[in-house]
Symmetry: C2
């Protein structure tokens, strides 16, 4: 009997609701595959600030580090929006990513045939979209120094940040992206702003140099402004995209919205070794928190990614993914993906329906 420890970080807003559903689904899939899972639930984000005064308490990071994988709900909410930086929920998430060393964030944007009408794109444009955005997650302008505020001698205020990448940081994320592309359709598009930024010039140079190691992958380069356009003009041209932290933040959200169903999209963040971090790409949705309205499927599918990528438990992962498809095929929909003729359900009920098919 294989056994693993999973750190659950419900976080804020709808986080606890979707984590609760994902936990049941994960437990059932595991037990059916004779895997034993031990769950360890800890606070992060706003919940942790309220409880302990810090968005990532030391015990939470320690538990996460010593577990086999981490499943996160969502963080953030109006209540903490005006907090100082070290007391923002977002700071806790950044500390967690950095603390776990999960530098590669994989964000699939897939238009499911059942949900193609949820997209605001025309059916013929949206149908069949299947993009994987590989975002660098622990470097760039998010973490670069120097950063902060200063006053010049005339009393003028400045706010500043540093966008910085080292060659080896670029190489390691690019290697992961080439490998991901190789397992998909063999096309990798590296996105940068190398016509203006030195950090991007180094990015392009290093990614290009690695191409020789992956002769089976077709590499192209695109400027970030053009990528933002091309995703809308013809998303099917993309297979795998690799880009830096801030461009990845923007483009992966753009790509996910093309599907019209961001309540469905999971993500995985992994490092060279150590536990990976799995989370839905949607936020904490404070406006619907506690109302049993959230779509738990992105978190459920994140749990499937966790089984596959962190634990190597392909069968259990497949069980969950098939159960989600089956539940959609039976017509169950939360509000965010509802359309006429379907059965509208809440977060809990959606979880119960998935459980029936696991």
């Amino acid at each position: 009997r294989r056994s693993y420890t999973i750190t659950l970080l419900p976080g804020d807003g709808i986080g606890p609701e979707v984590i609760s559903v994902a936990k049941s689904v994960l437990s059932l899939a595991a037990s059916l595959e004779h895997i034993s899972l031990q769950f360890d639930e800890l606070p992060v984000g706003g919940a942790a600030i309220d409880l302990t005064g810090a968005p990532l308490p030391a015990e939470t990071l320690a538990a996460a580090k010593s577990s086999d994988a981490v499943l996160l709900g969502a963080i953030g909410g109006y209540k903490w929006d005006t907090n100082e930086k070290h007391l923002k929920p977002e700071t806790g998430l950044l500390q967690l990513r950095s603390g776990l060393g999960v530098f590669a964030n994989l964000r699939p944007a897939v238009v499911l045939p059942q949900l193609v009408d949820s997209s605001t794109l025309k059916r013929e444009v949206a149908e069949g979209v299947d993009i994987m955005v590989v975002r660098e997650l622990t470097g760039g302008i998010y973490f670069g120094n120097p950063r902060g505020f200063r006053k010049d001698d005339k009393g003028e205020d400045f706010g500043f940040n540093t966008e910085v990448y080292s060659g080896s940081e670029i190489d390691r994320i690019a290697r992961i992206a080439f490998k991901v592309a190789r397992k998909r359709r063999g096309k990798l598009c590296s996105v940068d702003k190398a016509n203006v930024l030195e950090s991007s010039m180094l990015w392009r140079k290093r990614v290009s140099a690695l191409a020789a190691e992956f002769p089976d992958v077709e590499l192209s380069h695109m400027y970030v402004d053009n990528a933002a356009m091309q995703l809308i003009r013809d998303p099917k041209q993309f297979d795998t995209i690799v880009t830096n932290n801030i461009f990845g933040d923007i483009l992966s959200d753009e790509a996910s919205m093309l599907t019209g169903s961001i309540g469905m999209l999971p993500s995985a963040s992994v490092g060279e070794s150590g536990p990976g971090l799995f989370e839905p790409i949607h936020g904490s949705a404070p406006d619907i928190a506690g109302q049993d309205k959230a779509n738990p499927l992105a978190t459920v599918l994140s749990a499937a990614m966790l089984l596959r990528y962190a634990l190597g438990e392909e069968n259990a992962a497949r069980r969950i993914e098939d159960a989600v498809i089956e539940t959609l095929n039976m017509g169950f929909r939360t509000g965010d993906i509802f359309s006429a003729g379907m059965t509208l359900v809440g977060c809990k009920r959606m979880g119960e329906e998935v459980l029936k098919s696991v």
Copy 2:
């Protein structure tokens, strides 16, 4: 008789073709309104590199500065893509923006009723979209110092840039944006990444502080990743958007592609005083350069913006805009906006048709 000097900068790729059309249209509209225009044509971008060894020759900048307004075609092309930074066409454009002090870039993204089907968005989502993106153009990570490359003592390479804004840089672009919003539908959305970046925290603070001066404008704030999603989910929620240089580069291109007709979209860049810079938002399209296939209407409409904003010649501007609408109503379309039942024309012919209606 009012008389003005216009600097024409055809640039690269399709630049010369679209400038040539815009020049004829501008001349005719001006003469019908008893305005005399003197044109001064100079090289910029790749063309200038080939001719003079620099992407913005001193004479070009001097001529631009001493004229009443500047009309630019487009810059860039494969030929110069691997040049070093000081020999990139893009560097010439950045020097021009900076040299003219045009810190406010206005980029309308409007879905014309005649072209709503060019959009990849569903008709009901695209119809009626009318967004103005106000992008800060002479600051931020595009111009921030320090920037460049360095090696650490272990021989590791780094590429770095600085995202920096001063309070007064933020105030002046925000003031313009509030004024633009006031003349439109009175809604201003300021886009930043204030949950992570100090430069954005200062941005949000300064923009918020200015709101008191514009009680008739409804100000909201949005994170850039969310803005990239919301533009696709429901673009009609936006009226005026104000944001920094790099976010504006990405979001204005995204917004423009929502219209499906970026060959139609003009832009204006203005400063506190001095000549403004007017250019289509599309690029130099080297793949169709010299083939008489380009859509000249974005440049023609940029000429209209030039008449209105730089010269205060509202009637002549209106003549051009009405002529463009009339030409579309008559069914003339270049390849990029062609649809069944319309008359396919080239760049020159499109210009001739517009001239008939000026």
